[in-house]
Point group: C5
Chain length 267, copies 5
């Protein structure tokens, strides 16, 4: 679970709550929410296909509940498969394929079993990686668009509130609350955009980069397995490939890598 | 018909109506509409050629009434043609050409009948795809420009309204309605831009990408037909080409694809 | 003459006039114009060389008075030259050169007469096309810059007006007209930018693309003439080259093209 | 000397002065200047190395006092050197090297004397041109950054002024002048950015392009000299290279070019 | 130590303090800080992984306390190693490796000792340089994001303050201080963004470019050492490589370079 995101949202909302405290009830307005979020989702539905917007919630959930990627496990899985392939031949991998959870690796190994040439194998895997990047980019696009639409509809709501208030200027007591209500809509738009939509789009981008690095490591590994390289050599190559990218992944995931690196040093 | 877009516009407008309710008549202003939309269309007419702005309405209609693209039918059409070409020769396709509705495929098949070389065929089809992309881009450009002009003229209208109101400050009763009227123009500009022009530009972009994917599949198919490949092999190749792109198309269109994929698995 | 642009400006200004009507005299302010346009031209003069800003007016006139480009005439001219060259040799073109109005074609034909090689000819013509694009880009740049400067100086003028008004707060009767005057400057900046500078920059871009397409057709034609191709074949090639681009040109210009296309079909 | 820039600044400031006239003293505020320019320079010093910000003033001076580049002199210099080299050999150029003021040409000729190969010569000169472009880009960067920082600190100053004024609301007479003072800071930021920093950045870019064109002409000339080409042929080649770029340089500089072109026509 | 940055921050804050002077206490608001910085850090934590935000402080410190890079020492180190390698062979470098502080050079020399081929060596070093650039870019990204979030949350805080004030309009005495408090939040956001986050992002970019230039020099040097080039020749090549880039580094660091250049001239 991604503690930083949770912490971020929790602290952000807490600080704002604390600053507002006893006035919190002033900031609840159904009408403001209807205009800001109604408008944002409407524009998003016009902009993107239905099926994709539906996926948005699932994608957003990913940010908070996604299991951290473990490149260590990926490397060990490929090394294990390479050992088996070396001893018993590619066809022996058939028994393992069903047990591979990662779609990308399973399909790659299946292609190896099917006996495709190195060029075709490389081409297929790279194309799959490209499509993965495209899909990720679309997900980020939706959140960036929502981050653009939200403040705009927030402002539209404020303009609506101002117009209604201005027509009721006769009663000076109504001016204050009228303007307050009008302003809340912009506040909703700004907070939705800068506390949710845009940071989530940003994290999706980083998660996408992490996933693609692990996939690239897998791609290199499958190609090495296909070339019949020594399994121990494959492990070294993949760690060497991964090592300089380590720092851009989160610390926790990389502990095993460090352990292995240390053990290698001792030898 | 694109239900999501309709739903989007309907929900967006409904929510805003609901929030405004009995005050709705306050927001109707012919003068504001004249300034916002007059200015927007004026700037658009200066910016783009007459013929192209005329096409805009037709293009916008596309977003809501366009038949969903069906890559499945495209593949089956090309497979059918490939079967006939294999049995009876390219010239036998002459009888089929008139019945092909898709311009791109019809011209491609005509070129095959005319006996052009593979290189020329590929070059011609790719150029047509490029021009298609250019035309699509121009359509998006017009809507993006309108999405930029609308808020600007909305703001210009508000400034005009403010000036008139400020010269009539003597009568304090007129201040409120005067400002309200001024503000409505900005509201018109913001809603026109963020609820119509920009989301439509966005959806045109996505529709364009979908159309180009289907055209790319057709291009691959025509080249395979020209090379005299086995029709069954062509179907497999085209499905393989399409499969990873499936997820970026809307679900409904892809059901046939899934059915075929399942049937293939069973065999 | 470009009717759309005239219509655009006429309708845009009319609608705004109509909305303002009897208050129109409120919006005339020499001081506001001095600040907005003085500032804009000053910044433009600092930003761009004198000679280029001088050309700006001429360039802007182009948008409204430019004769529509006729790719049909260009093609027929080259076909006619190719026929003469085929019958009487390249040197016979010498007599025609002076009569060619288009600089690009005249220089190209002159090079053909001078006996340059195909590579040099192609290189020279492509470079000239590149420089044409560069010059066009600079013209667009100037208008985009003016479209950026105008609202900024409009706002500066409003700030100036506000300061003066605020120092004279003693007389509450002066507040309204003072603020009105201040706001007019921003209005000038916004209208100048979004009704003139930016749309003109946009149309210059589209005109530039049209001109470059016609020049590309001419380039292809001159190369074919140089290669001694059959004139009738050259006409076909150039129409084939132009046809898919037809839709991005304005309708009127293309009528001859359609006529020819129809006649070709009949044969 | 660049008259257009001087004219631009003079006219811009004059018009604004005229519009303000007797109120000019209202717009002088040391505190506003301290916040706007203090903040801008502070941010610039954090952003860029000390040595580079120091160069900024020198660079800005360039815009106004730079001698116009004369590609005509450059061409004649290279033709003269080529003539000498042809008659007396490359080593005879040794006597001329010290007298060449242009760093780029001097180093190029020195390399020719040192007997480097054509490939090394070309590579070295092109790299120097690249570094020149990089240095120019950095100078533009600094001005663009200042153009971004200035309005931000102007706004910060206005916020500061508003806060102070709002705490002193008891005295209604202070409200006007307080707000006026607050607004002046934003005015300073906007004028500094749009009348100085951004236009200067723009002109630096254009000057850079001009300088690079002249350097490219010199590069072509030195390579031709190194290849031992006929000096008269070199002159023709360089004029042909320069001619299509003429229009993007300022008129005055090009008079000699036109004269030469005319003389060539007469022959 | 980077004096310019310190000076920049010191002068910037001093000038603003001076302008505010006795009113300084008006600008201290815990609530405003809670909303602006709480929101900014919350959004940053959602956007970027925990480990990376933690590194941010360290990275920011770099701007102020980083030892200036000395390309002179780098060149001399490589020349010294090249001399030893020439006399005693690559294996003799084993004794020196541990003493090399720079990671990049140490790994490169280690690879030379391990006997990798030139292609592998070049490829490995270039990849490391690429990853270095990626890591630097991520650091800049975080600061740019913070520079975007800070003004947004500043504005959100102002909206919150306005709403609370507007509900308490009954007491006209509270209006001034209420609005003042509301405005301070925006001020915090603007200053944090334009005086810290964005300039620091800018300086990180420049520091990154400097570091990469020194690493490129090292890369060239290690390759030359590997090729067994004459050490004196290596020094000349590296100085020639560095010289044109000198001007984009800070003056102080380059004194040794100038000294060497002068000494070379004397000889």
């Amino acid at each position: 679970m991604d503690i930083a995101s949770f912490l971020g949202i929790f602290v952000g909302i807490s600080l704002i709550f604390l600053a507002v405290k006893e006035n919190i009830f002033l900031f609840l307005s159904l009408k403001s929410a209807m205009i800001t979020f109604g408008g944002t989702f409407a524009a998003t539905f016009i902009n993107f296909p239905l099926a994709q917007v539906a996926k948005v919630l699932k994608v957003a959930g990913k940010v908070f509940f996604a299991k951290p990627l473990n490149p260590y496990d990926t490397i060990e899985l490929i090394v294990k498969l390479a050992e088996k392939a070396r001893k018993e031949g590619f066809l022996a991998l058939e028994a393992e394929v069903a047990g591979i959870k990662d779609d990308f690796i399973r399909r790659g190994i299946q292609s190896v079993i099917d006996g495709v040439s190195r060029d075709v194998l490389k081409d297929t895997l790279e194309k799959q990686l490209d499509f993965l990047r495209e899909r990720h980019a679309l997900g980020q696009d939706i959140f960036v668009s929502m981050g653009t639409y939200a403040p705009a509809f927030g402002m539209a709501g404020t303009l609506i509130g101002l117009v209604i208030m201005l027509y009721n200027l006769d009663d000076p007591k109504k001016v204050g609350p009228g303007m307050a209500l009008a302003i809340i809509t912009t506040l909703y738009g700004v907070l939705a955009s800068y506390l949710f939509f845009l940071p989530i789009a940003g994290k999706l981008k980083i998660r996408s980069e992490e996933e693609c690095i692990v996939k690239e490591v897998a791609l290199e590994g499958i190609l090495a397995l296909h070339a019949g390289e020594n399994p121990r050599q494959i492990r070294n190559t993949l760690y060497a490939y991964l090592a300089p990218r380590m720092r851009s992944l989160e610390r926790k995931k990389l502990m095993p890598l460090r352990k292995v690196a240390k053990e290698k040093k001792k030898k």
